[in-house]
Amino acid sequence: MKSERLMDLFSEIDPELIESADIRPAKKKTVIAPMIISLAAAAACIAVVISVGYYVKNVKGKPRQIAADRQGITMETVASVIDNYRSDTAEKKVDVKINEVKEYGISLSFTVNNEEDYNKYYAYNDFILYKETEDGDVPVPTLEADQQKQTLVPEIDTAVGEKPIINVDIKKQLLFDKEETDMNIFWMNKYGELEKGDYYITINVYKIDKDTETIPYELHFTIE
């Protein structure tokens, strides 16, 4: 098997790399200071705002890539299942992909592969947005839910170009009751656009009445 060969060849990697991976990092004494620093930096530089839980019927059918191209954004359309279960046995009930990426927001699409699984899975706003940096991933800060609701509503019309149906309760579960369900996540250019770079969004899909059955996904996009 090819993977066995690759695993064997790991024995031949540079000894310094092997040794450096065996150095246990010191536990961080506090998480408050780095948070303040990162929040301050974010406020000064980008001040990204995110809001989720909006269900937009009219996203479907839009020319998805055109908007991205126009704004110099590339995207990967297929999400990856990031759990560590065996890939050959994993039941992939729901696919997630990126519909559209703009500086101020992203549209995700959840597809339930089999009709018998309609009304069995849901997602909500437990996503995390990361920016990839030399020092690892840096979470992009978000505003409190109430602030998002107040500030986002007047901006959405301009941002999307079409008036969406807004689910004001962003904590509400977004039930996948049909083949395809869209979710829009916005961060507002009013507070700053995302800087150039690679970003990752992680989001979970849950099974109704079965909190332990969670399918984590990660989606990647680049702002150039």
Partner: protein
């Protein structure tokens, strides 16, 4: 005792070389073996075989990085023992899981001629060195030390999901890197 002093004991054919090695690197060696074999007796056997191999290898070899040298020997012996025990059965052990994950790094080119070991290793080293330190160390702990997700998360004070995400991304990147460098396995 310093590594150079322990190595010198091997060169002098002093049996205290083994006890000094055991004292300094016994737990390290056992952890690597246990991560692969998941069995205390087998890990101990592997640990003893590692000392024997060291005894037979030094001299003439004078390792520049003694710790990594021991780690490589322990890992290879443990993988051999694992293969011997599991020749007839394929289960869902830690090695099988890691192998399944590594499948994701294999470029899709069945017809291509496999690259030589030295070329793949060189490419692997270049790839690992290009990674941010944190992602690199997580990757090496998983596929060299064969540590579980939980152990890695604990080791680096991270949550398990972050470790999974990091591993997944690095596997994807490695596949792209191999394809770009035209490396075939």
């Amino acid at each position: 005792m310093e590594d150079t002093q322990i190595i010198e004991l091997y060169f002098q054919r002093s049996e205290s070389a083994i006890s000094e090695t055991d004292q300094k690197y016994g737990a390290y060696c056992n952890t690597i073996a246990y991560n692969i074999l998941q069995n205390s007796e087998d890990s101990e056997e592997c640990q003893n075989d590692t000392y024997l191999k060291l005894w037979n290898t030094i001299p003439p070899t004078r390792p520049s990085n003694f710790k990594a040298f021991i780690g490589k020997i322990a890992r290879n012996l443990a993988l051999n023992l694992y293969e011997k025990h599991n020749a007839q059965k394929r289960g869902a052990g830690s090695v099988e899981l890691a192998l399944d994950e590594l499948e994701e790094c294999i470029p899709d080119a069945n017809a291509a001629i496999p690259s030589e070991d030295s070329v793949v290793t060189e490419c692997l080293n270049a790839f690992l060195k290009s990674l941010p330190a944190q992602h690199r160390n997580i990757f090496i702990r998983r596929y060299f030390y064969m540590a579980s997700i939980t152990e890695i998360a604990d080791f680096f004070h991270m949550n398990e999901n972050t470790v999974r995400v990091s591993l997944k991304r690095t596997r994807d990147k490695l596949k792209i890197f191999f394809e770009k460098e035209e490396i075939y396995l």
